[in-house]
C-alpha cells in the first residue's frame, strides 16, 4: 500500500559537503509543492567534516515537529550510512554512491531498500563535474518518490544563476539539470519497490519556509525595531544576521559590538535615546549582560533581549538544544526589578513575540526577554503568509510625553522621569527637549532621577518598579489549552516543546489515552488564569528540556501547584512526540 505525502527524509554527511544545502533546497521544494514541511538541522560545533544531518518531514496538513526516523536516507558519505542506518523506518530506503565501501552485513535483516546509485558516474559522465553527485542523489530521490522534477530544477536554476549570474550560471544549471534528469530516471526503476510517494498540492505559493530566528527578526522589524546591537553566538547569531541583511531596506542600525556587555549597554543607550532597540545572545552572552539587565530595570529602560538557549552549563554544547536558562533569566542580576519573559513555541509565536516584545518593553519601560532555543532557532517550518500578518501589528509606545506637553510646562514645572504612579509607570519624555532635561541612574534615585540615600524614597521607587509586574500581568498572553481541559492527563510546557507536546496529545488520544496540554507562550509575570487553568486539570505532567524541571519549580513557588510528574530531557537533542508518548505510557503503566 502506498503512503502519499507523509514522509521523513534525512540528508546526512559531513559539514561543508553540501548535504545541508541539498537538504534545505529539498525542504523548500516541498513547501513550494504545497506540502507542509518541518525541517530540523542537526550539526556539530565545527565548520567542516564530522557528521551532520537535515531531517525533513512533510505532510498534507501543517506539522510542528520533525518527527522520528526517516523513510529515505540520502547519505553523502559512508559514515552517514553507518551513523543513521538505524533511523530508517520499515520499508524505507537508503541512497548512496555505488563506490562506498559498505559491507552488505550492515543492511542484513532490515526491511530496507538499498540503492547503490551511480551518482558520481552520472556527475562525471553527464555533468562533467564530480560535485554534481549531490544533484544526482536528489534526482534518485525524486525518481523513487515519483515526485515532479520541476521543483528541483527551479531550485537548481536559482542556486546557480543566483551565484554566478550570466552564462556560467546558465551552463552550470543546465548541466545539473541534465544530471538530475538522468538520476530521476534511474530512481524511477525502484518506484515499485518503494511505498512512499510524493505529489504536489495546491497552495504552496501562499506559504513560506522559515525558522524561528527569522520569524523573531521579521516580527521585530515589523514591530518597529530600528536598532540591534549584538555579538555573534550560536544559536542567536542569525537574529543579528537577519536584521543586518535588511539594514538597508528598513533602515536598521546594526552594531556588532566588542562583547555582550557592550551589546546590551549599546541597546540600552539607543532605547534611552528613543529607538526600539534589541540585542540577541545565548546563555554565555546573557551572563555578561546580567549587570546591564539590572541597569535597564532600575533606569526603566525598555529594551528587548533574545536569549536563544543552547545546552549548558558554560560553553556546553554550542550546537545542541536545551531549555536550561529559565531560572537564570528570571532571576539574573542582583536585587529585584521587573522583567517580562516571553517563551514562544512555534514560528508564528516567534513572529508574534518579535513584535509584542517591543510594545511590552515600551509600555512597561523595563527589559523584555524572548526565550527561544537552538532547536527552534534552526528548525524550519512551512507557514501561511497570512499567519505572519504585518497588518495586524500595532505600535503602542505606552506613556510617552509629547513635545507639546513639555512645551506647556509651567516655569517651575520639572519633568520627573521616575514619577510615582499607581500603575508603576511614569510618563516618559524622550530626551532632547529643552523642558525635558533629565538624568537617570542605576543608583537608587528620586522621582527626578537624582541619586538618593533616603529610605522612604527607596521604598517608594522599589514599590513603583515592582508594581509594573502586577500592572503587566493582565497584558500577558494566557496559557493556551490544547485538547480536553478535563483530560486524564495534561501535559504542560513552554517554548519549543509546544509542537511535540501537541503531537503527543494527538497520538495519545488516537491511542485511547485521554490527554490534553497547556502551553505557556509567556511565562513572566505568570499570566492571569494560570492557577485556574492548572488547578482545573486532573493530572499535570510538566514537559521540559532541562535537568530539574525549572518551570514546574517556578509554578510551584508562585502558586503552590505541584505538577504530579515531570518529563525531563537534557541529552541535548529536541524532545519528540514519541519521547513524550513513551514517557507518558511509562507513567501510566507505573500507575498515575
Amino acid at each position: 500500500m502506498t503512503t502519499l505525502n507523509n514522509m521523513i527524509f534525512q540528508f546526512a554527511g559531513a559539514a561543508g559537503t553540501g548535504c545541508d544545502s541539498q537538504g534545505s533546497g529539498w525542504a523548500r521544494s516541498m513547501t513550494r509543492a504545497g506540502l507542509w514541511t518541518f525541517a530540523n538541522f542537526d550539526f556539530e560545533s565545527r565548520i567542516r567534516g564530522g557528521h551532520i544531518y537535515y531531517q525533513i518531514r512533510i505532510s498534507e496538513k501543517p506539522i510542528e515537529n520533525h518527527g522520528e526516523g526517516a523513510h529515505v536516507l540520502l547519505a553523502f558519505d559512508e559514515q552517514a550510512v553507518r551513523e543513521r542506518i538505524d533511523d530508517i523506518l520499515p520499508g524505507g530506503a537508503v541512497i548512496f554512491d555505488e563506490n562506498y565501501k559498505l559491507d552488505d552485513s550492515l543492511f542484513e535483516g532490515r526491511d530496507l531498500l538499498v540503492i547503490r546509485a551511480p551518482l558520481i558516474k552520472f556527475a562525471n559522465d553527464i555533468g562533467g563535474n564530480k560535485l554534481m553527485a549531490n544533484t544526482a542523489a536528489v534526482g534518485v530521490l525524486v525518481g523513487i518518490t515519483n515526485f515532479s522534477a520541476k521543483y528541483i530544477e527551479r531550485s537548481l536554476r536559482e542556486a546557480f544563476i543566483g551565484r554566478y549570474p550570466g552564462e556560467r550560471g546558465e551552463k552550470l544549471a543546465a548541466s545539473n539539470i541534465e544530471v538530475l534528469t538522468a538520476a530521476v530516471e534511474y530512481g524511477a526503476q525502484f518506484q515499485d519497490r518503494f511505498d512512499f510517494q510524493l505529489q504536489a498540492r495546491p497552495g504552496g505559493e501562499n506559504r513560506i519556509l522559515i525558522n524561528g530566528n527569522v520569524a523573531i527578526g521579521m516580527g521585530a522589524i515589523g514591530g518597529g525595531c530600528r536598532f540591534i546591537s549584538g555579538y555573534p553566538m550560536t544559536p542567536a547569531t542569525t537574529v543579528l544576521e537577519f536584521l543586518a541583511a535588511h539594514q538597508d531596506e528598513y533602515g536598521i542600525v546594526v552594531k556588532q559590538t566588542e562583547d555582550e556587555i557592550a551589546a546590551l549597554l549599546t541597546a540600552i543607550g539607543a532605547a534611552h535615546a528613543g529607538a526600539r532597540a534589541m540585542t540577541s545572545t545565548s546563555g554565555g552572552g546573557f551572563c555578561l549582560m546580567t549587570e546591564a539587565l539590572g541597569l535597564a530595570g532600575t533606569t526603566e529602560t525598555g529594551v528587548v533581549i533574545v536569549n536563544a538557549q543552547r545546552a549548558g552549563p558554560s560553553t556546553g554544547m554550542p550546537t545542541r538544544t536545551e531549555q536550561g536558562d529559565l531560572d537564570f533569566v528570571l532571576y539574573a542580576s542582583h536585587g529585584e526589578f521587573p522583567r517580562l519573559v516571553l517563551t514562544p513555541g512555534s514560528v508564528e509565536e516567534c513572529f508574534r513575540a518579535g513584535h509584542r516584545a517591543f510594545n511590552l518593553a515600551e509600555k512597561y519601560q523595563t527589559p523584555v526577554i524572548i526565550m527561544t532555543d537552538l532547536f527552534q532557532a534552526f528548525a524550519q517550518k512551512t507557514v501561511d503568509r497570512a499567519d505572519l500578518d504585518f497588518g495586524n501589528i500595532t505600535i503602542d509606545r505606552g506613556k510617552l510625553v509629547s513635545d507639546e506637553q513639555l512645551d506647556a510646562f509651567g516655569p517651575d514645572e520639572m519633568y520627573a522621569r521616575h514619577k510615582l504612579s499607581d500603575d508603576g509607570i511614569s510618563p516618559r519624555a524622550l530626551p532632547g527637549h529643552p523642558r525635558g532635561v533629565y538624568m537617570t541612574t542605576g543608583d537608587e534615585h528620586t522621582e527626578r532621577g537624582f541619586i538618593t540615600e533616603s529610605q522612604s524614597v527607596r521604598v517608594q521607587q522599589m514599590d513603583k518598579r515592582m508594581q509594573k509586574l502586577e500592572t503587566a500581568r493582565p497584558d500577558m498572553l494566557p496559557p493556551e489549552l490544547y485538547g480536553d481541559q478535563d483530560a486524564d492527563i495534561t501535559l504542560v510546557g513552554w517554548g519549543s516543546t509546544r509542537g511535540p507536546i501537541r503531537e503527543a496529545v494527538d497520538l495519545l488520544v488516537a491511542n485511547g489515552q485521554s490527554a490534553g496540554a497547556i502551553h505557556f507562550p509567556e511565562v513572566w509575570p505568570l499570566p492571569e488564569g494560570t492557577e485556574n487553568m492548572l488547578s482545573a486539570a486532573r493530572y499535570l505532567i510538566g514537559v521540559e528540556q532541562n535537568f530539574s524541571g525549572q518551570f514546574a519549580g517556578i509554578v510551584r513557588r508562585a502558586t503552590g501547584i505541584d505538577f504530579h510528574h515531570r518529563i525531563l530531557k537534557y541529552d541535548s537533542k529536541q524532545i519528540t512526540a514519541g519521547d513524550i508518548v513513551a514517557a507518558v505510557k511509562e507513567e501510566v503503566r507505573v500507575g498515575i
Binding site: 506559504r207 513560506i208 540600552i268 543607550g269 528613543g274 532597540a277 504585518f390 509606545r397 532632547g432 532635561v437
Partner: protein, 298 residues
Amino acid sequence: MVSESATVTIKSFNTDERSTWCPGCGDFGIVVGLKRALTELGIGPHQVMFTSGIGCGSKLPHYMWANEFNSLHGRPVPVATGIRLAAPNKFTVISVSGDGDSYGIGVGHLIHTARRNVNMVQVVENNQVYALTKGQYSPTSQPGLVTTTSPEGSIEAALNGLGTAIMAGASFVARGFSGDPRGMADLLARAIEHPGYALVEILQDCVIYNRVNTTKWYRERIYDLQEEDHDTSDMRTAIDRSIEWGDRIPTGILFQNTDRPTYEEQVPAIKAFGGAVDRDLAGEFSPDDFAKMLDDYA
C-alpha cells in the same frame, strides 16, 4: 538640533543638586571646564547627553544641569555609542568617568570605540587611584603606591592611556589638568568639535587618597604642548609625548587626525534613513512593504 548659542550661558548648567565630593577635590575644576566648553560652543543642557560610570568622578554630570544617563562602573562608553548611533543628529555625547572606570575595567570599550571613531568625547578623570572605594591602586597608579590592597606598594606598571588610545586608533587625544579649567575648557571644546572619537584625560587631584600626585606635584611638572612646537598630526611624536611622564608631563592636544570619517557617517541605515529616533514607527512602511521580507523564503 541647531544650537541655540544665544541663549546658552554658564548659568544654564547650574543645578541645585549638591555635590558629595570632598572639599578640594579636583573634580570641581572639571565641572567648570565642561560648563565653559559647552557654553563657548552654544550647546545647551538639552543638546548634550552625558553618560557616566561609577566612581567619584563619574558623579560629575549629576552636578551640572544637563541630560545624563549614569550607567555602570566601566560602561559609559557603550551607552554613549548607543545614543550616538540611535540619535546621530540630536546630541553631543560626552562620557565622563575616572581612570579606574575608563582605563581599567572599561579599557576594552575605549579601545574598540576609538578604533571605530564614534563621534563622542570620552573624558577620563585621572586621579591615579580608585577613590570612591576608598583608595586602592588603579591602573594608572604609580608603582610603589601604598594602598589597602598594595600594603607593600603597587608592583604594577602604570598604563599609558593616551599612547594606548592612539595605537588603538583614537583620532583625537588630549590631556588637561583640573587646576586649569580655562585650558581644559579649550581642550574640551576642541574635542567636542572634533569629528570622531576624542579622548580627553584630565589629571586630577584626589586630596584624600592620592597624597603623591597632588595639585602641587602636577603644577611643578605640566607644560602645554601647544606652547611648544608640537605637530598634532604626527602620530610618532604624539606617541613619544604620551610616554613622557616624570619631571615633565605634557598637556594639551597630543594627537588629532581629522581625515577619518566618523563611524556614524558610514552606517548604512543612518546614511539612508537618518536617526532611528526620528523615524515614524507606525507609518513609515506599509504591511506590504514589510511582507516583502517573506519573499526570500518562498
